[in-house]
Amino acid sequence: MHGIVRVQNRLRPHLELERAKAILYLNYAMRAISDLGKQLGPVTENSEIVVQQQLLPPVVHDVGSIASIFSLIVSIYVAFQLKSVASRFRELVLIPKAKTKVRAHLKNLREQLKTKDWVAFKPEAIRVFSLLEHVRDNLNSSLVKKSVKACIIIAEDAKNNESKSFQEKTVEDLINSLTGIEVILENAIEDKKWRSKI
């Protein structure tokens, strides 16, 4: 728990910056939507025709149309920026959390390997599998995704293993693979390039 807090404290300035950016983009978006609303006027039976006329790009008849098209472009741009900020914000929160979870699983797996507790290993593999799936689905880094995918295959094999005989190799493979992910996640936090993108 203290580990997460420590890492999150380190990342706090970046999180604050991302939040400020998100608020700024939201303000842009609100203004752009409000401008577009003013251009379109009240909703009537002809609103659809008006919107279609406003959005027709090739033939621009007046200044109002140019303004509304401009507003639309700004809205789209802002939407993309918001998505990107949200995704980076999510990564900033998820990476330290995932790293501490991976470390916890590693400690448990090492204990299970030491005491040959194959019964406890299976539920642990299931927990590792769900954590890695969550990481894979929510992180953009291709390096993290690639190594997580390889580890998911090992965890899935262990999860689906119905045989009575467990080889220590399965546990060792999972530990080695998770250790690699731990290093990659640690690097992702420390990576200056990744930070400079913020």
Binding site: M1, H2, G3, I4, T100, K101, R103, A104, H105, K107, N108, E111, K114, T115, K116, D117, W118, V119, A120, K164, S165, F166, Q167, E168
Partner: protein, 123 residues
Amino acid sequence: MAIKDMNDSKKWEAFCEKLIEMSRDHNIAWEDRSEHIKRPDSISPLFVAEYKEWHILIYKYSYKYFYDEEQFDWQEDVLIELIQEDGKTKWTLPKTPSRYELLEIVQFQNANVELLLNDILGD
């Protein structure tokens, strides 16, 4: 036993059940060797049984189960080991469901509970 079977939980479960049967029938004697053998994480006496040239050790120990890097619960489990005479581990047995029952019987016998019962109840 082929080496591929060393983690076959079915075989080790049968082994444990046989030890339970032998202990119940007093065909194997368990002795508290806590004074000579040390296991830092143990929370019960360390019981050793000698069977031919083998020394079998059973004890309860505690360990940390981690939910997060620094967030954990203390949990208890039972471990069976084959040891050398000086107490060093030769081989740790894979965990089997009947290990708890084996320790229960060993502790019951070692505490002379049967004698106490007979003494109190006057049988």
